[in-house]
Amino acid sequence: MKLLYKTTRDYLIASVSILIFTGVALFMILQKAIGDEMNEQLELQADEIFANARAGNFMDAPLIRIVKVAPETPTGIVFGDSLLYDRIQNEYEEYHYIRETQKIGQDRYQAIVMTSHIGWDQYYLTIFYIFLLTAFLLTGSGVLINYFSNKKIWTPFFKNLKNVQNFSVSSPAELQLYESSINEFKELNYTLEDLTKRSRREYLALREFTENASHEIQTPLSIIQSKLDRMSQLEMSEQMAGYIVQAKSGVDRLAKMNKSLLLLAKLDNNIFVDKQQVALHEILEFQIRNMEDLFDSKKIILNEDIGTSSAFSDKYLADTLISNLLSNALRYTPVEGEVKITLTQQTLSISNTGSAPDFPTEQIFQRFTKSQLHVTSTGLGLAISKEICLMNSWDLTYQFEYGWHSFLVKFSS
């Protein structure tokens, strides 16, 4: 629930309950005060009637009656309510009465004085309506004030929230925060600025670390590789040779992995800024010709439909993207499988036959995702391809359908 709704709702509930409570209280207090006043008035009237009666003046007036009652009737005052028919308004109305019994001489007389309730139910309704209106106006204005002032107060917060959502430690853009006059928000801004600066600093250090570490690994790898090559030149047993071959394949994988990590670190570091128009069909043709015998040796049928296409990219990256996709097709196409390569002005599609992937397809562009069938692959080739496409604002998608794995690159126009 939005904060604004929540506070408004709480305010609404609170104000309505307070108004109901005060309304009821007001009604009850008024009822009591007016009731007391009526009783006093009736008592006074009854008293006067008895005073007149003692003087021998038994008068009967509308709503006033004095009658002689049985001698055993107890003396005292009783208040009560009764309904009387109103001829003019043609309805029953509630009347309040006093019934007082007193002794006059030896006889007992009972006086009944009535007075109308002056439309209690009318008062009740009027009070109810007034309070309803008040409640409506109060809550309405409260909600509006709350809404607009809160909106104004919270605007910088929401703008900042949006900026923080869009903020990425990997992008060079600084986090822009809107000033606010509210202390709490100022504090939040200060904390956010500090936090983003710190994360960016740590991110950059980490990125640099990856690149530096990869560089530092290259030289020792060179030493191991060259010494293994040197050992290969010596006379040795078959067994020894086997060990050297195994060691070499390990070094090879490491070198390959390291090279890919280095490239990823560089892509992350945005080092490739030398974009130019690149003739993709030339790169594609060259690479297909270069790899032809690799496809041949697996008896893979190559279907090419290569139109001309040029796109805006770093040349090295375009090269890497195409060779990654091609070598991916080469690796995952089974013997005697089929590969389709289509290049148009706007798209490059490379598809190959093969069994369904043994991992969730949405993970295909994640780093270190690889098929169980090819444990020696680095699992970085497609991650690199995706990064290259992101960098060029191209769209790279993967689909597996009817036994075909398809990679589609859409170049941005």
Binding site: H215, E216, Q218, T219, L221, S222, I223, I224, Q225, S226, K227, D229, R230, S232, Q233, M236, E238, A241, G242, I244, V245, K248, S249, V251, D252, R253, A255, K256, K259, L262, L263, K266, I271, F272, D274, Q287, N290, M291, D293, L294, S297, Y316, D319, T320, S323, N324, S327, L330, R331, T376, S377, T378
Partner: protein, 225 residues
Amino acid sequence: MKLLLVEDEPLLLDEMDSYLTEQGYRCEKASNFYEAQEKLHLYQYDIIVLDITLPGGSGLALLETLKTENKNPGVLIVSAKNSLHDKVSGLELGADDYITKPFHMEELNARIFALLRRRSFDGENEITVDDLVINMASKTVCFKDEPVGLTKKEYELLLYFAINKNRVVSRQSIAEHLWGDHYDVADNYDTVYVHINTLRKKLAAYTPNDYIKTVHGMGYKWKYE
């Protein structure tokens, strides 16, 4: 041919030195910026194999020194950084080629060989092995003046062996040389095997000598005294 090897890692420097000496080059070594600067100032070299990151200064600065001294040896940059920026500025400063660590000695040797050939105007265009003549200008191979029909890759393979003669050349090294290191080499050893076999068969049609020896599944060796 006189080479200067500039590399700060002694183990690697020794390895380059011993292999290139075996291949008949006269090698001198420098392991830091100042040593290299001094040698470049004092002597003439045909080729400099130059590491970019050196104690005492950048290899790129040495290229500038060469320029100001009007010396023009062939320069092959060796770098741990597969950095396009270094490559571009290196080539702009007059370097001829660029190789990234880790590399195979045979590849380094092949690059030096190609560089030397490009730089000499009256350069040897042919390598002769018995009656087999590899013509590098026309990229053809003849046996006793009779052309041997080789594909482009087979030609490259033969040349790679001929340049790195009497050396066990690993399958990795061959695969990388033929197809570049874009591809996962481990997947392509069978293809190397197939190419070697075809090349052997084609050569066997002309000569009884089996030049290409298989060595314990480690690689292949072009044996020729």
